[in-house]
Amino acid sequence: MSTFIETLANGIKESGINPQKISITSDIPFRPEDIKYLGVDYFHTNRGRAVAFGTGLKLTNPSLKVIPIIGDLITLGGNHLVHAGRRNMELTVICINSFIYREIAHKSAPETTTKFSAYSTFEEPFNIPHLANSCGAVYTARWTALHTDELAKSITEALQKNGLSVIEVLAPGLNYYQGIDKIESSLLNFYYENSEIKEGIEPRETEIRNDQKIIIGRFTTLERPTYLDTYNAQLTRVLGDKFIPYSGAVAEPKKEGE
């Protein structure tokens, strides 16, 4: 079992939520064993669509807790994330930031070029917590994958939040999920050692820069009505009795003999 899955499992366990009511939507291919271990439903969505897929899932069955885990920066799916934030869709988004900050890493990690990382050489990354915050997320945090206890705690807190939570996890290459290889572990250690916890800092200040330590921690937590809260309140206000408060869209099952 990879460290991340164990962290996730701990986070879920602490939250007290029945794993059977949790769905993970992700564009990262998890292994069946990991999902079995977590005891959740898992949807390997197409690239970038984990949040949008999760939106459909959550709205259809609001009793579910949905955890979109999105990888490879937030390239394809960035739009879905910011809009989910705006709507305050009740999702616990885990952003795996595998973008290799070459300039930062250059200092100590000698061998950083994995297959996907060659591209990042001349680009600057997003400040994900700041972006999430600017579009309305109710919970933002950033940890490295080695901050297992802190990360698990953040997952627990985020699962208990009503609204869009965004937890950024700094972890190198995608292989991390299949077990860490040598290059990645050296990079991960580098992240770990070069990070500094600053809880509650304004997300604007958490930009990852090569001339300073990586700022990690829980940055914001606030209360805002969720999409469905707003929806039900507004329609009740306007439609009164004619409105059937929305509680889900699960279809009736086929009965015996039908």
Binding site: N46, R47, G48, T75, L76, K115, F116, Y119
Partner: protein, 399 residues
Amino acid sequence: MKPPKDSLKTGTHQLSGSQACVEGAISAGCRFLGMYPIEPAIEISNYFLERAKTLDAVYVQMEDEISALAAVLGASWTGRRSMTVTSGPGLSLMMEHMGLGVMLETPCVIVDVQRVGPGHGIPTAPAQGDIFQSRWGSHGDYEIIGLAPSTVQEIFDFMIKAFNFSEHYRVPVVVLTDGYLVNLKSDVTIPRAEDIKLEPRRYYDGPQEKYLPFKRDEDLIPRLVDIGAGYKFHVTGLTHDERGYPIMNEECQEFNVHPLVRKIRNYAEKIVRFQELATEDAEIIVIAYGSSFSAAKQAQQKAREQGIKTGLLKLDTIWPFAENRVRELSRKAKAFVAVEMNYGQLVYEIQRCSQGNANTIFVTHGEKGVENSDDILNAIIQASRENSKKEGIIEYAPK
């Protein structure tokens, strides 16, 4: 027109399909790659980036394939030869801009390294499942040109062809290869600059104030100018007239869109390319393209050894489809054996053009390995034993 000498790696080198693709593009004058990484097309973009270091070439990894092709179209209008590389899921995302490319008649090349689909499919396994998609995947009516190289050398050669076609016909050209071929290593001969013929861009050369971006030449193709050259032209994805101004009626729709189809269909015979092997006396004709070619060739030869008069038609261009040649062959042959790494796509075209003259047998190829020719050979044998005309497509079922 000739490529600039210093960009060429003239000589014979051992190259992977990915490298051959990039060398071909660079030889064809391509200086812009907009892409988004996807298996199994990553090597191509990595190698382009490698080569871009020493050339005046632009490389950009966009946020997704939608924007990758959008950027390529924009770049092409500045006068740079531009391309993108992708694989199935990415090609699906590019579909809307394929239509824009067609509508703006923008020269560009899309390399599709096919993998098993639909959905994620099997990212690392080669396939030929995007054949129909490349032709029909965007909404509305249009035609494109599709090329399918079969060897590493052909990847190099076809990239030059692709750019030449796209400049000449002002249409997106799709190069349909797959994960097997781009990873294959083989000797590739890169000619000297003076031996490579490049189609120059069809620039407008009349008086500036008379420029009409969509006024067609005799051969239905309009002339281009670059952004920044002072023409102040307008182009739109809406149905437009010669000036490029939108006009929303059925007459203008006819005026605008019919030529998009015609400019390819009318010149299909000039575009279509194929290679034939022993088709003169053949009863059974194997039709194959892309990576399936070498296994098909093997099977064809083995069948000949067994005394079955077998020929081979290898399609270099998939689109436009080699209609006339298949029709001609259908009158001579007893059966076609269509070989594809999918569950039946181009075979529908073959069946259509066989006009009920020849049987059409379909073989799914590749699951036992791209090199494996057993199923093809067995299908040939099955076809040779069948003496009556059968309706519809006969699916070869492996024993």
